[in-house]
């Protein structure tokens, strides 16, 4: 890869430096090996990342098709649609929200209009969970992304939706979502990762950073539904300050190999953080999930629930760590991983971890892996329900616990439909 030049117009000096640093890191950091604890059980990343290149402006046909398919919800506060990292549509916020000072910007707009805000928050959180090298690649290439700034006391009713699409063979996308929620604000967002075609092998290295300032409420949902050729990285970090309430919910359906690194740093007391994930793995898909809950302040709660259903020869890896720093007393931290094996060839790995340096805490983790309970199945069969429908009901029921957490009825329906489509093909 050449030395990084400015990718966007009139990039400031500091961004140039971050890009150079990224290029440097990407070049010098070693390719992860199976010996790295952070890559334990992961089948190694065989595709050379250098084969993937940013794509040129998509055709107008692709753009039209993309716009047509970007219909997750009827209602939203604003939306951005990126295709191969090119912004093809962005709706603006209502005048009311604009007047209250809410900002919803592309990275280019942020460079032009709010450089100080960007400088303060952009690319400040790398990952500590093993993909530092790929974070470097992201930093050196990132141009597509949405920056959401919600000022003090402002509450936004409808979700903000970011769509990130790929459509090019060997295309590289580096989507970036940045959420800054000031005190007493409330916001809900959805990121949708998707492929326009079933056949293009793409690579996505996305980064998302959430800054929840005192008492802010943030709910971020992610739907990852790339085609099954794509390699995807999601490197997410949440910073939760005092008395915040932050929820992350990920629905993972797509990609050949999806690596999901999710770190939460709780820096203030009274914070309440929830991390949910729901994964359906089929064929030869591999979902590699690494999580890190850091409690740096006392009296906070974090709760993680990752559920995976595995078909065929798919694999999942869940590796989670709860770290309670010295002095972070009265911490409540939980971590649960449940794997449902629907095929004897599927492979579920679980590495739940705890590092506790304070004594007055309640921490636990649980991991279970099993098949469908034959008694449950028998119960349904004995009531005249066909085997296929019974299986579907049980698997959907397995996920219901997480789907229940969603705040919008229409999103719940959309997700249920997505799951049902995937299952009805599988469970026959």
């Amino acid at each position: 890869m050449n030395n990084t030049q400015a990718i966007l117009k009139s990039e400031p000096k500091w961004l140039e430096e971050l890009r150079n640093q990224g290029t440097q890191d990407y070049k010098t950091l070693p390719v992860p090996t199976a010996k790295d604890e952070n890559w334990r059980f992961a089948s190694l990343f065989s595709t050379e990342a250098a084969e993937f290149k940013p794509s040129s402006e998509p055709s107008s046909q692709s753009k039209d098709l993309c716009l047509k398919q970007s219909q997750l919800l009827d209602q939203s506060s604003a939306e951005s649609i990126y295709l191969d990292d090119h912004l093809i549509k962005k709706t603006s916020l209502s005048d009311d929200l604009k007047a209250k000072g809410v900002l919803y910007l592309s990275i280019q707009e942020a460079i032009d209009e709010h450089p100080d805000l960007l400088k303060k928050y952009f690319l400040k959180q790398s990952t500590e969970l093993g993909s530092e090298k790929y974070f470097g690649l992201h930093a050196s290439h990132v141009k597509a992304g949405s920056i959401l700034y919600v000022p003090k006391g402002v509450e936004i009713e409808d979700s903000i939706i970011n769509y990130y699409w790929t459509d090019t063979e060997k295309g590289l996308i580096c989507p970036h979502t940045l959420i800054i929620a000031e005190a007493h604000s409330k916001i809900s967002t959805i990121d949708v990762f998707n492929s326009l075609s079933d056949s293009n092998q793409a690579m996505s290295i996305s980064v998302s950073n959430i800054y929840a300032h005192e008492t802010a409420h943030v709910f971020r949902k992610v739907i990852q539904n790339f085609n099954t050729k794509t390699v995807s990285f999601q490197l997410d970090t949440t910073i939760a300050e005092k008395d915040t309430s932050v929820k992350n919910l990920a629905l993972n359906l797509g990609s050949a190999k999806a690596r999901f690194e999710n770190q939460v740093k709780i820096n203030g007391s009274g914070a309440h953080v929830k991390m949910y994930s729901l994964t359906v793995a089929e064929d030869q898909q591999e979902f590699d999930q690494r999580t890190f809950q850091t409690h740096n302040a006392p009296n906070s709660v974090s709760d993680l629930l990752y559920k995976n259903a595995l078909f065929d020869t798919s694999r999942t890896i869940f590796s989670g760590l709860i770290q309670v720093a010295e002095g972070a007393q009265q911490t409540d931290a939980y971590q649960t991983n449940r794997n449902l094996l629907l095929d004897p060839r599927a492979d579920a790995n679980s590495l739940p971890g705890l590092e506790i340096l304070a004594n007055d805490v309640k921490c636990s983790h649980g991991a279970t892996t099993g098949n469908i309970d034959p008694e449950e199945l028998f119960y349904l069969l004995s009531r005249g329900i066909s085997h296929r429908v019974a299986m579907q009901l049980i698997v959907l029921g397995f996920f219901e616990e997480i789907i229940d957490e969603l705040d919008s009825e229409s999103l719940i329906n959309t997700i249920r439909t997505l799951l049902e489509t995937k299952f009805s093909a599988k469970l026959s």
Binding site: E326, L351, P352, L354, H365
Partner: protein, 474 residues
């Protein structure tokens, strides 16, 4: 409680605490010197008058040891403080294991008498071996067992006299190349117990080994191999102590168990090394069809313990179990856990681990459960509970679970908690001091596990826990 009885209690505790802290002047007839090289191994081998293949085995292991890196990419960096060149790898008084207590050299005899070994033997043991530094000083088994064909000897004697029994399994459960410390042990092993229990023989009373380090800078590398033939049953117990030296001492054992069809082995360890011993032990068992292996592991002493007893469940319906209690006090790191490798249908395993961290102590659970493809109806249950006593205590849990196959079930649970203020308040209201209340709560925490230990051990463990808890509150 009045002051005088309290003092009495303290006094008795003080005496107990120092029970292992004495040593005798060193007058060794055989001393391999410090440092490790091919010459050291040649020396050990010639002193022991070993067969050529054993010497070859040692030399190969030495090469492996030198090649292998320290496992510090996942383990404690404290390992780097071991200076292999400063360790003495073989020390012995030239003793042959005595068959009667009277023949044991006086200072050695006194050592074990102070630790209460002959007393225990008379009470309830089927056989005893006592190892002093590199070699066994005393080894005796009840005569009727000998008649039934039970073999209970040291490693050298086992390989020399019964190669047809022990050689096929020696180094097979744990190959030298398994890890750096198993390689080290394979290179310089000395002492330990080789046990064979013939078909259908069920030992009603336990066999016991006692390990003692007497010399400063000494590394103890005992090697144990236990074979329970079809339908045989035995219980084996080991205890470990060392005096408190100024510099660090290394204990690195390899323990291999083989439970053939329908056999049962129970292996109990109470480790109470002094706080400067690096205790890096590899323990693994093979369980054939319908066999049962149970590791009961109790770690109270040492500076750093790394020990993950494992069971490879090779035959249908084999069962594996690890029950462990770890107590980490100031300056201690108990890095313990368990490994269960399921290789046959309908195998089950159970891991229950309880740890208590006191003061700046750190306890870590590391586990591995593996269920490969094509297996049916395997089950694993893992429970790890950690109790943190002081605000600067630390605990970590790092399990790794891989599951494939049909109708396999795995569950893992871990919890971390402290003794609740309400519990303490309740007990103090009823007239217990804070320390006693804490001690009682901690004993309650491990109580269900203690029940699994033989009575004599659970009484001793309770006392040890009380001792360690002393002064930890207030």
């Amino acid at each position: 409680m009045s002051d005088s009885t309290l003092n009495e209690q303290e006094e008795s505790i003080l005496v107990d605490n120092e029970k292992g802290n004495f040593s005798f002047p060193e007058d060794y007839q055989f001393d391999a010197g410090t440092g490790l090289s091919k010459e050291t191994i040649a020396y050990i081998s010639s002193v022991k008058n070993e067969a050529e293949w054993v010497k070859e085995f040692r030399l190969k292991a030495l090469e492996l040891f030198e090649k292998k890196p320290m496992p510090t990419h996942w383990a404690s960096s404290d390992l780097e403080n071991i200076v292999f060149d400063n360790i003495r790898y073989y020390l012995s008084k030239g003793q042959k294991p005595s068959r009667t207590w009277e023949e044991v050299p006086d200072d050695v005899k006194e050592t074990f008498e102070r630790l209460g070994i002959p007393e225990q033997e008379r009470k309830f043991l089927a056989g005893v071996e006592a190892q002093f530094d590199s070699e066994a000083a005393y080894s005796r088994m009840k005569e009727d067992l000998e008649k039934e064909g039970v073999i209970f000897v040291g490693s050298s004697e086992g390989l020399e006299k019964y190669p047809e029994i022990f050689k096929p399994y020696f180094g097979k459960v744990i190959p030298s190349a398994d890890n750096k410390f198993s390689a080290l042990n394979s290179a310089v092993f000395s002492g330990g117990s080789f046990i064979y229990v013939p078909k259908g023989v069920k030992l009603k009373q336990p066999l016991q080994a006692y390990f003692r380090i007497n010399a400063e800078n000494f590394g103890q590398f005992e090697r144990t191999l236990i074979i329970a033939d079809e339908g045989a049953e035995l219980t084996y117990m080991e205890g470990c102590t060392a005096p408190k030296f100024e510099t660090a001492t290394l204990h690195s054992a390899v323990v291999e168990l083989v439970a053939l069809k329908n056999a049962k082995i129970q292996y109990i360890t109470v480790q109470n090394w002094s706080n400067n011993v690096f205790n890096l032990v590899t323990k693994r068992a093979h369980a054939e069809e319908n066999a049962e292996v149970k590791w009961i592991d109790c770690n109270i002493g040492s500076r750093l313990t790394m020990k993950y007893p494992g069971v490879v469940l090779k035959g249908r319906k084999a069962r594996g179990e690890v029950l462990s209690i770890a107590l980490a006090n100031d300056g201690q790191h108990q890095d313990t856990g368990a490994k269960m490798v399921h290789l046959a249908d309908e195998t089950t395993s159970n891991i229950i681990s309880k740890s208590i961290s006191i003061g700046e102590g750190r306890s870590t659970y590391r586990g591995q459960v593996h269920m490969p493809k094509h297996l049916k109806s395997c089950k694993n249950n893992t429970e790890c509970d950690a109790l943190l006593i002081n605000s600067n205590s630390r605990t970590d849990t790092y399990p790794a679970i891989t599951t494939r196959g049909d109708a396999n079930t795995v569950q893992h649970e871990a919890s971390v908690s402290k003794v609740s203020a309400e519990q303490i308040f309740y007990m103090m209201q009823r007239g217990l001091s804070e320390g006693e209340a804490m001690s009682l709560a901690v004993n309650g925490f491990v109580n269900d596990l203690l029940k699994a230990f033989p009575m004599e051990y659970s009484v001793e463990l309770k006392r040890l826990i009380d001792m360690e808890m002393e002064g930890s509150v207030g």
